[in-house]
């Protein structure tokens, strides 16, 4: 299968940045993957995401070398609006991505822009409201929504474009733990049910085991680790790359360093506990 997103020998620096921000990026992402992107503050995560939906080089210019190919087409040769039908982008600050005065109007904003006809807009609107569970918010104004609800509306506004890829840049950083957890579960649901490819930058990794398939770690504009989530999360020095490793995972790492041979590796507390119980009681 040809990859949905492909970076080939890619380098980028903003016009006013003295050093390259992205260096020698080679990356392939397949359709349907759920990718977690992490790295220290300022390492270029947001910059990388902007290259996928064309904000770079179309809105932010700079020195652009190499190729980024999305769904078979070169990003630098398409305009952002065309790419908007392939790539949806949800930002950190929910306030700045809802333009209209009602949820419904905001969701259809993109469809009106690309000239979809009225019946189709209606159909997609109903679908998006339903899939994100926000039918009851339909006629609300942005200031009548909580931050979590705003983030859902923002997703709905991009989903109606039927993108193949959904990109989220620190979408939960302002949300309370429970809302954040529910939000991430919603993403997984979308990934399963409609097979949409998801790339998310997220600092709270404890929300993501069982959700992400793949983990990419960046540092200083380069990709330093890339592989299945369950393998990369075991890497010893992830904290040096700004990653807050969930305690249950750190624990297993230090235990194995201390010579304890656990029969497996668990990503969440429940399965870890099961494993420990079996281990301890087996020896009784």
């Amino acid at each position: 299968m040809t990859p949905l997103i492909k970076f080939i020998d890619f380098n980028f620096s903003y016009l006013d940045s003295p050093t390259p921000i992205l260096k020698n990026i080679n990356l392939e992402i397949k359709e349907g993957e759920f990718v977690l992107l992490v790295g220290p503050s300022g390492c270029g995560k947001s910059t990388l995401l902007r290259c996928i939906n064309g904000l770079i080089p179309h809105l932010y210019s700079g020195v652009y070398k190499g190729k980024v190919i999305v769904d078979g087409e070169q990003v630098s040769e398409k305009n952002i609006s065309t790419l908007a039908t392939k790539v949806g982008f949800v930002f950190q600050n929910p306030e700045n991505q809802i333009f209209m005065f009602t949820v419904e109007k905001d969701i259809v904003f993109g469809l009106e822009n690309i000239g979809v006809d009225k019946e189709e807009i209606g159909r997609r609107l109903e679908w998006a409201l339903k899939i994100l569970n926000i039918e009851h918010l339909r006629y609300r104004a942005p200031y009548e929504l909580s931050d979590g609800q705003k983030q859902r509306v923002a997703i709905a506004g991009t989903l109606v474009m039927h993108p193949k890829i959904l990109i989220l840049d620190e979408p939960t950083s302002l949300l309370d733990p429970k809302t954040a957890y529910e939000f991430i579960s919603t993403l997984k649901e979308l990934n399963r049910s409609i097979g949409i490819t998801i790339i998310v930058v997220e600092h709270r990794i404890d929300l993501l085991p069982k959700v992400a398939d793949r983990m990419i770690v960046m540092d200083g504009g380069q990709i330093v680790f890339d592989g299945p989530f369950k393998d990369i999360i075991k890497e010893k020095n992830l904290h040096l790359y700004g990653v807050t490793v969930p305690p249950i995972i750190s624990l297993q790492n230090t235990l194995s360093e201390s010579g304890v041979n656990l029969p497996g590796y668990s990503l969440d507390v429940r399965s870890f506990s099961e494993m420990i119980k079996k281990e301890v009681f087996r020896n009784d």
Partner: protein, 244 residues
Amino acid sequence: MFWIAEGLIYRRQDSVFHTIDPRIKLLISMMLFFLSLVSSTIVEFSIILVLIFFIGALSKTLKRMVRTFVFSLSFLAMIFVINILVGYDIMFSIIISLRFISVVSSTSIFFLTSSPDELELVMKSFYLPYDLIFAFVTAVRFVPVIMLDAIQILDSQRSRGLEIEKGNFIKRIKNYIPVLIPLIVQAIIRSEELAEAMESRAYGFSKKKTSYYSLHLRKRDYFAATVAICFMIVFIYAIYFLHI
């Protein structure tokens, strides 16, 4: 800080008047505005004001309309005093003040009962360029957001010992610098983020933009328009030909 703008900011409400086509609401609002300008006797103003209050009651916005009134009272007093000082008689000053009230409240009818979305549709139906309309809509959308920013910034600086009201005139003006600079920076950051989000949702894609919403005049809209126009004709006829 918020309550100042209360009288002009739309709130969603259920009333017969709110459901009228925004173009008709604009027509009614403009008509009352026009009548306020041509009226010149207390009787005429009374009729207009009664009508405005009636609409206020009908649309359940009376309370907020009155609040705007109270707010403009100081302004009104000023107009009144200036008129007297300039040498007009009391009667004339009263008329001018009444005119001011009716002008202000007739415009607020439209803004209190039409959502910015409706305003957008009205602008569209006049074939204004979409960029202009969108700029206007987002500006209105972000007024409360920027107000909250301002409050937050002021709170941050007061927490660092800034006392806005302290000092002589020059010092006081200087006191605003720590508030204004972050406010401007914040506005720039917002507009950049906004631009990113708009572009990411195909803003300015093509000329074939569709519109999911459109305005349709219904029976009750025709009815409201007819009543309004009849009223205006009768009113003007009464002023100029019957000399009431």
